[in-house]
């Protein structure tokens, strides 16, 4: 389960950055990019909370 969540998180990060490169290469347009970035954002925050840095605390 944890491995699946990590995989989904990284797919979310991929959806955040890869479409912008596709805009740069002319394969997709800005609107498609914005939608994919939003899906990537939801995927990242929806999964990362379950596996990353469960107890990191630095009090300043």
């Amino acid at each position: 389960m944890r491995k699946l969540l990590i995989l989904l998180s990284f797919i979310g990060l991929g959806l955040t950055i890869v479409p912008s490169v596709l805009v740069l290469t002319g394969d997709i347009n800005m609107d498609q990019n914005k939608k994919l970035m939003m899906i990537g954002t939801i995927l990242w925050f929806g999964t990362v909370v379950f596996w990353m840095n469960k107890s990191k605390k630095i009090v300043q």
């Binding site: 912008s20 970035m37 954002t41 990362v48 605390k57």
Partner: protein, 466 residues
């Protein structure tokens, strides 16, 4: 009953404000890498990058100047701050109290807390530029210093209240969330910049340098803005966090580090946040200027929204929040150390509300470069005092932690070093046209020299009298 329980819980939060951090509470390298990446890929980055464009920095000044300045900043954390922090393991405020005495450190804490409030205020304002988008609020322009509309004030107030409540409830969850958001946030910055490149005329790698020079960092400032050179970008990058490294505020962070070498973990924040993110946000602003012209709004939320859609706007909110939150927390800690009997959560509440009111004024955003440089310069002299006290006082036959050992409440050596450095900075600024970005370096030597000199006079006289 519920209220009493909450108050008891808040009162019980133990954060080693007046004791060294015990071994079992020390943190590993990953905590610092995440924290620095998160804290320095933040709301300020959405303002600073565009302001470099507005100030007409050239592409060379950005690429080379920021690289060098950030390197100097990492060295400052690694070689100046972290070694002292891991040796003493106490907060900046408690260490200063031992050196300067209670009365002087109270003045310092008041100034420090106010500076933190204004910095956090600018971040609340940055978040508000994104939160206000759906409500079509009139955003401020580069020339605006005063609140632009009632809608702006209400949005800022709402953002400020939420951030204050989170800061009161403890640092744990914010710290954790900053870690979670950091990788995503830097990718949003980069993705937004990539996506607008074709609109600026970049279609292949060979176009990058030409477009960077002609359309992004053109070397020509916008109307009403001063001109930035490579010296400005280098010194700004070095001193943007001067209060934290040379000024020693991050003693309070690195007191949790297992090893002093963790100071170099600040490189994640510098090169992701203060290099890539500053460049990326500059590219976004250049795109915004191409689309809307230079006379319009200066609203990081709108700039990010135009380039990256809803994800960009969310990024601005989170970036502003994850910066404002620890800053309000630090401000609360600074004010609380004036009177340790005050409850931290009550102090944070008042601090957060004051900060929210300060955020009404867009000047905090539009003049952020000047404010950041001033903030570092004002607090830096006490960092010089701590450095000299730690490394040189005993070697010169003088007493370190003088105030504690001599039981004085105002160490004039530190006080004169601080006030005279600020006075000299004012003289340089007013009569020799030295810009605020460059005052820190001579200031450090002035503060150090005066602290040593006056310490000799005070401590030797005491010995002679005794």
């Amino acid at each position: 009953m519920k209220k009493n329980k909450l108050v008891a819980k808040l009162d019980a939060i133990e954060e080693f404000e007046r004791t060294p951090v015990p071994d079992n509470k020390l943190k590993g390298l990953k905590s610092f890498i995440g924290m620095y990446a998160g804290e320095h890929t933040a709301g300020t980055e959405f303002v600073i990058g565009p302001l470099f464009v507005a100030h007409g920095a050239s592409a060379g000044a950005i690429v080379i100047g920021l690289f060098l300045g950030n390197l100097l900043a990492v060295m400052s954390w690694g070689f100046l701050t972290a070694p002292i922090a891991t040796k003493k393991r106490i907060t900046l405020y408690y260490q200063l109290e031992k050196i300067c005495g209670y009365k002087l450190v109270s003045i310092y804490n008041l100034v420090n807390g106010l500076m933190f409030c204004f910095l956090a205020g600018s971040m609340i304002a940055v978040s508000a530029t994104a939160v206000g988008i759906p409500f079509d609020i009139t955003m401020p322009t580069l020339e605006d210093w005063l609140p632009t509309s009632i809608g702006w004030i209400i949005t800022v107030l709402l953002v400020g209240v939420v951030i204050t409540i989170v800061a009161i409830l403890g640092y744990d969850q914010v710290s954790r969330f900053a870690n979670l958001a950091a990788p995503w946030m830097i990718l949003i910055f980069l993705a937004a910049a990539f996506a607008v490149m074709p609109e600026l005329g970049i279609h292949s790698f060979s176009d990058v340098w030409d477009v960077a020079n002609t359309k992004i960092w053109t070397g020509i400032p916008l109307e009403g803005q001063s001109k930035f050179t490579i010296w400005h970008t280098t010194f700004f990058a070095w001193f943007a966090n001067m209060a934290m490294h040379i000024g020693m505020a991050d003693l309070s962070i690195f007191r949790y580090a297992r090893k002093w070498q963790y100071g170099f973990s600040s490189a994640t924040g510098m090169y992701l946040g203060h290099y890539l993110a500053w460049m990326a946000s500059g590219i976004l602003y250049a795109y915004f200027l191409t689309k809307f012209g230079s006379g319009g709004e200066f609203a990081p939320g709108k700039i990010a929204y135009e380039a990256a859609g809803l994800a960009g706007a969310i990024c601005v909110v989170i970036a502003g929040w994850t910066t404002a939150n620890p800053t309000i927390y630090r401000a609360g800690l600074a004010f609380q150390s004036i009177n340790p009997n005050w409850k931290r959560w009550k102090v944070t509440l008042v601090t957060g509300l004051f900060t929210s009111v300060a955020a009404f004024f867009p000047a905090l955003v539009m003049k952020l470069l000047d404010f950041v440089a001033l903030y570092g310069f004002v607090l830096m002299p006490m960092g010089a005092v701590i450095f000299i006290d730690f490394y040189l006082m005993e070697k010169m036959g003088l007493q370190s932690f003088y105030a504690e050992k001599a039981n004085v409440r105002f160490n004039w050596a530190a006080g004169i070093a601080w006030f005279f450095t600020l006075f000299m900075g004012l003289i340089f600024f007013l009569f020799f046209d030295v810009e605020v970005y460059f005052l820190g370096l001579p200031g450090w030597f002035i503060a150090s020299a005066f602290y040593i000199l006056i310490s000799f006079m005070i401590q030797k006289r005491k010995i002679a009298i005794a």
